[in-house]
Each structure stands twice: as C-alpha cells, then as structure tokens.
Assembly symmetry: C2
Homo-oligomer: 514 residues x 2
Amino acid sequence: MELDGEGRAVVRPLLTDLYQATMALGYWRAGRACEAAEFELFFRHCPFGGSFALAAGLRDCLCFLRSFRLQDADVQFLASVLPPDTDPGFFEHLRALDCSGVTVRALPEGSLAFPGVPLLQVSGPLLLVQLLETPLLCLVSYASLVATNAARLRLIAGPDKRLLEMGLRRAQGPDGGFTASIYSYLGGFNSSSNTLAGQLRGVPMLAPASSEGPTVDLTASVNLWLKRVCTYLGLEVQEPHPGERAAFVAYALAFPRAFQGLLDSYSVRRSGLPNFLAVALALGELGYRAVGVRLDSGDLLQQAQEIRGIFRTVGAQFQVPWLESVPIAVSNNIDEEGLARLAQKDSEVNVIGIGTSVVTCPKQPSMGCVYKLVSVGGQPRMKLTEDPAKQTLPGSKAAFRFLGSDGSFLLDLLQLAEEPPPKAGQELKVWPQGAQEPCTVKPAQVEPLLRLCLQQGQLCRPLPSLDESRTFAQQSLSRLNPAHKQLQNPTVYPVALSEKLRALVDSLSAGGPL
Amino acid sequence: MELDGEGRAVVRPLLTDLYQATMALGYWRAGRACEAAEFELFFRHCPFGGSFALAAGLRDCLCFLRSFRLQDADVQFLASVLPPDTDPGFFEHLRALDCSGVTVRALPEGSLAFPGVPLLQVSGPLLLVQLLETPLLCLVSYASLVATNAARLRLIAGPDKRLLEMGLRRAQGPDGGFTASIYSYLGGFNSSSNTLAGQLRGVPMLAPASSEGPTVDLTASVNLWLKRVCTYLGLEVQEPHPGERAAFVAYALAFPRAFQGLLDSYSVRRSGLPNFLAVALALGELGYRAVGVRLDSGDLLQQAQEIRGIFRTVGAQFQVPWLESVPIAVSNNIDEEGLARLAQKDSEVNVIGIGTSVVTCPKQPSMGCVYKLVSVGGQPRMKLTEDPAKQTLPGSKAAFRFLGSDGSFLLDLLQLAEEPPPKAGQELKVWPQGAQEPCTVKPAQVEPLLRLCLQQGQLCRPLPSLDESRTFAQQSLSRLNPAHKQLQNPTVYPVALSEKLRALVDSLSAGGPL
C-alpha cells in the first residue's frame, strides 16, 4: 500500500469491477456517455445489528477522485479484455477522463449515518460516475464499518478506559491494517500500535517516555527487593523465574522511565508479579516509576483485581504510594462481550488492547453499502423490483436532521433537492420509511446533513483533521438517544421522506419500473 | 494501494507495530542488534475448523524485503515517538538497515501448510528481523486465509463449476480487495471481476467476447419473438416488462456476441426470462448466441432448474439447440452452505459469483499466524509457558513431507536443520505433535518442504507465476487424503518431530523456560 504525501491510499482507477467498464462501453455505444447523472452511496441496514453507523472514508474518496486518471497502460489493459472490435473512440474517451466534471456532496467524516441517507451524492457524466462505483464503495464501506465498530466498543468501554488498536498483524492485508488504525481512532479508540498510521495520519502512539538509563547496578537492588517482596507475599525466592526477571531488568535498563512488564509469560502470581515488583521497586528507589503491567491470557478481570490488591498492600507495606495506581493493561482476543466484562463498574483494568475484533469486524465483516443511480438527464430514476427492500429512492435529494429542544436527534428527513429546506419550529408532515401513515414533527432545530465537498472537481473547503472528525463523531454520538445506542435490539432511528419525495416514489411506482 | 511494476503492493517498513521499534531499541541498548537470529512464521490452528491451509503471500513478502529501507522521514518519525534521549547511533543504525543480511526459506506459494510447520524461516541480524515481524505477518496471514477459503469453496463446488470472485466492493479496504482477487484465484477460483488484479497479476477476467453490432433493426425482431415466446409460455405479451426488455436490447446492440441478461430485476418467470428469450432468439437469427443469464435473488437452485427446463423446451420448440446449454450464473451472498446446495448433483447452475464470503472470510476473518524466535547467537530458543499451546519449537529446522507409495501425503516431519534428511524406504521413529508416544513410519517418498528463496538479500530463483502456483495448489490438494479435506470435523493431518528435535524440546523444558 503506497500513500500520497498526506498519507492517503493511492487507489488506481482500475481497482474496479470489469462490469463497470462493460457498462461504460454500453453507455458509450448508446451515445449516453456524457448524460448528466447522479448516484447515491448509502446502506440499507446498520452494521452489527445496531441502529447507527459512523460515516467515514470521505477523505480517501476525495483523494481518489482528484487524482482519478486512467494511464495509457490502464486503457491498454481494458482494450485487451474488452471486445477487439471496440470503437477506438471509446478508449480515447477513457484516456481523457478526469473528475473535473464531478460534484460530490457528502456526510462529513464522522457523522452519524442511518439507512437510506446518502453518505455520498456523486454527480457528473454518466459513463464516468458509473466507473467510480466500485472504488468508492470499497473506500467508504470498510472505513465506515471499522469506525462504527470502534464506536460500539467505545460505548461499551465507557469514557475512561484507554482503548489501544493493535490489530495490524491480524488485518485483511496491509491497507486493511492501515485503514483500521485510522478509523478505529476516529470511532473512539485512544491510540494505535501501527506506526505508519502515526506517521502519516497522526494517530497517537503509546510510546515509552524516555530511555535515560540508571547509573547504578540495578541487578543487586532487584535481588534485594525480590527477597523483601517474596517474604511479604509468602513465596520462595526461587519461585519467580530468573529468565523473566532478567528480561525485565534489561527492559528497565533500556527504558527506566517507561518500564512495564508482561506478567503472564510463566505464572502471574508466582513469577511475573513478584519479578515486576522487584524491578519496579528497585527502579523506584532511583526515582523512576513503572508505567504499567500487561496481561495477555487467563481471566483478565479477576487477575487485574488481584494485582491491584497486591499493588495496594505492597505499596502500603513499603511506603510507595504510586504503586497503587500503576496502570493495568490487558489484551487477548477481546470482543464486545469480553470488553463489557472488563468495563464493569469495579474493574481495575485501565488499558485495553484490541486487535482482531476491531480490525476484522468478525460480527459483520462487510458493511454492504450500495451505489445507485437516482437521476439521469435531469430525470429522477428509481429501481423498482418485486423485492421492496431493494427499491431505491428517486431524484436528487437533500437531507436534514431534526433536533429536539434539548439538542437530541429526532429524525433524519430526505426530501427533493428542489424543495425549500424545512424550518425550525414549523410543524411538518413526513413519512417515516416503512410506515404506512405519515406523522407530524416540529423540530426545535434543523441541521442540513450533506455538505458540498467537491464542485466540478475542485475541493470546496479544507478537510477537517482526523482529530476534528473524531471529536465530531463523539459529540454526535452524545446527542443520540440512548435507545438508539443500545448495541443489541436498539430502537430504530427514524428516517423519513418528505411528502413530495413520497409522492414521487408513489407516482414512479404506479407507472411501473423505469 | 500503490503497486510496483510487477503489481506487488509496496509495503513501507513503518507498517509495523511500535512495539517492534521499542524492541529494536532494547536490543540496540543491550548491544544485541547484530546477533544472528532466526524467526519462524507459522500458525497453530488451521482456519475455518479445517485440517489444512494453503501458504500464500510469499511473493509479496520477498518484494517487501528486497525494497526494505527506512527513509529519512520514517526514522524522523520514530525519533519523534521514541524517548528524546535515545542514542543517535540507534537512528543511524536504522537508516542504514536493509535486507542484504537476511535469508529466507519458505513453503512455496500454494503449498499445503499444517500447524507448526513454518511458512517462512527468516534469519538475519536480531534487530532487523524483529522489525520485520508485523509486516510479514500482515502479508502472509490474509493471503493464506483467502487462498484457503477459496480452496474450501472449490472443494465444495467440485471441479466443473466456474467460480467468479466479485468481492472488491465488500473487501476490507482497497488492498483487501486486491489481495483477495489474487489469492482466491490461487486457491481455485476461475476468475475475478477486479480489473486491477487482471492488469497487474494476470487473474483471468470474464469479459465480453466481441461487440460488433447487428445491422438490422433488432427491436422489431425482438417483438416478434416475444409474441411467440409468450404464446408458448402461456403469458400475456404485456406481462414482460418493457423497460427491462429495452435494457436487454441496448445490451445486445452493444455486445451482440456477449449478450447476457440479469433475469430477476422484476420477475424471472413473467418478465426476465421471456424478455431474455425474445432478445436471445432475435440475436440467434443473426448468428449470435447469447452467452448467459444471471440470477441475483431468490432460490437460485430451483430457479436454475426451471430456467434450464424452459431453455430445453423452448430450444426444441423453435429448433435452436444451443439454447439448452446457455450458461446460468448465480450470485447473492453465497457462503459454504449455499454453495454446497448449488453444487449438488443435478444442479443446472454453471457459474457462481461469490463476493463477501470469499473476500472477508466471515467464518474466521483472521488467520492467527505468529512469528517466533527459534534461535539467537546460534543457540536454540524456545518459549515455555504454563500454556503448552503457546510453546514454540526451538532451533533452526528443516521440514519434510512423507508420501505413501500412491503419492498421497502421510505426514510432515520437523527436524533440526543439522540432521541428515530422512530417506525414502527407511523406517523412522517420529513423535507426532501432541502424542505421548512415538510412532514409526516408512515413507515411500520424501519431499523437502522449505525452499531457499532469499539468500543474504538476493533472490535465489525466479518466482513461480500465479498460474503455476495455482496449479501446484490444486495438485497438492489432490494428493491429500479426503479425510483431511473434510470441511467439518476433518481428521487432523499429522505433523511430527524427529527424535532429536523432541529431545531438544525435552531438555529445554526440563531446564526451565529460557
């Protein structure tokens, strides 16, 4: 995975389905290549059985669009797989394509997104915007999936636990790891182990603070402390593993200001913990405070409880009060259920490292976004099928979020772009999706959801930083009713159609499929 | 995701865990940076509950190693997160690193791989080979996971069904999609929709053959055929959807030699099928044969049965014998269970498109490979813990596959590199992993498993092509006993240790953890 100067994945135009090139050729032959078209990218069901998603990947999409250009080799490859008698003019057309005629409106990075509300609206020449389908889906779907997954894990963990993403080695390819590191941070994680995400996108790293080494013989002091600790804990001084202790000492010499110990290589109680205490207390005499312990197996919650208890009593016994608050970090295939246990009220765990279950999203490893034509040649288009779940909403649209007087989110409204925006304080009749009857709603505030990002190929405003998007996501989540944030069987957040949009759906449905 | 000239993902050295840089600094400070070390990359459990995996990703690893070089900006970033008082010599050391001192032995791409047998053996200076851990895991794990997943799907489908990978839009990021397209082909798929995988790695595309257009008015002929078909099928001529038919005609005009129809936009029986037949029969009069129909919803097996029946009777009725054998392609979230149904004996399905379930591997979205130190300074190393499942096998090793007289695979043997290779026809006492007792085995043939790929940074032989690796994988699978190819509850394939390796494990265990 190569990245541009700003650390964005460089996605090639041919990272697409051959089907798109075939469609493009079909449009070309039908003389429709340059018809004005608009597509919407959205999802039909929130992932993980939840009631919300976070929109992410916009920055990568805009980067892709701005650099979109088929190289000669790309066109030659397409010529080699498309029919040999294809009009050379088609390939010349491809060679000249860029996104200078493309306009994008989108939910800002980190927005709460709900089924049917477009994450992206992409308009431009029909042939071109068709070609964009697969790469845009690829860039938005996984970013949004990971961000949503991370947000759910953050909701479970509560605000105080530190969540570390450490899944690079378990990711679905190098870019899967890189994307996951960025968007799990956006979704609410605190840091990542992935240095490339730190370097290129500023995701915080948990790094040792300083390595200035102690100048005394640590080993003698450690051995002294080991005796005291073992006596206090009722252990034989031979029990703690000498190899483990040697490794701790080496680490402490390398990183005296950042000493931490993995306690469960052999036995936490009989080896890891007394060894850690001996080294931490010896370092403490030199003015250095150990920064943490880590557990990677067994019952993490119970062990953390026991370790905290021992830190307290040992700290009291030897008058080292800082010992009591040494952070306890845990990892070991932690999923939503495991995290819920570690986050319970009296948990002594401080830092939680999550790998596989944040990066690969095992509960639902794909988001299922779709990209559908909603208008062509200025006329609304709608996909009608016998399966109503696969119908689309026609026409160029605007989207608004209605807020209650307390600032909480009431519903999202989709209406035709030509309609005047709804006004705060005015009662409005709307049609919730899936409902047979309209309802009336009077918003205290109205927020437009879709922002113009790219106009005729030009960026309209600076993109927010990753930290700004992360803050925006957390603020948005805080305004969502807890009933919609339930992770299992949540109350569905309402998305409604305006009367005019509903009428357009009805008239197109009555006229039969287009 | 950017790729080099040969279409390999360019992975940067900083695509690694910060932990590796911290470890490297620790080794540096302990004066151990250049100690000769060897790591093994392996897995402990076959994915998906099966009894085999396919090794893949070696080509990407070798590309990564050959281009491995920390840029100034990379080193500066590490300097910004490591302790500010870090010895500048450490960063100079990093800046000068390359893989000219690294040697790699590996299972060839597409090999059958079993628990504990190294996929890669990486030897070189301790600090450097430590830094390689995360990127190598990242490159091997997902490639091997997807290849194995595809091989399982191929076993289910049998040899004759055509399997099309079409999961790019559902993949975990752009590189996830690219990797999946390549390695699902290696694992046994026939083609991919991903044009970049076609362009850069030669994965076959299913492309329309020719687009030379008919010169007559297709619409009139289609309308004529529609009447005949509807009469024959007992349908009103108004029932088939005119919009769908118009789209079919447009497609047929664009791709007369490659006409195919998606039948289930409205209703297969009442619209898609009669519309397809009308267009296909009209095209047939002009000498063009339709290349297929596609179904994307509903009961795919049953619909395929009905469609084939109608193709037969309509073909007989109108004396167009080719109609009977028009391929039927299906897709719609097909997983292992769904595929098993579509592959049953009397299935009329010919082409099966699989997306999400091949690229995201929902049954197990991560492979769980590990990368462990087995020797340092010429001395064997072993990780001993209270959890025997997390123990490692010490020492630099060789691996052999024992074959029966019929060429089938009997077991894999791990022994110390210094031992003489086992000989065909000689009885040998070996220790199957997990067994308490040795057993004797007399192989009819012995094949060495690990090949020298990179010697002191230099490629030792040309890498096999993707097609060669694909053939090798299928040949290997054909020699594996069916009991090991069961997808649920298979018989475990035996991996055994030589007496000497077993004795080394015992002596290191008795001496306590190292």
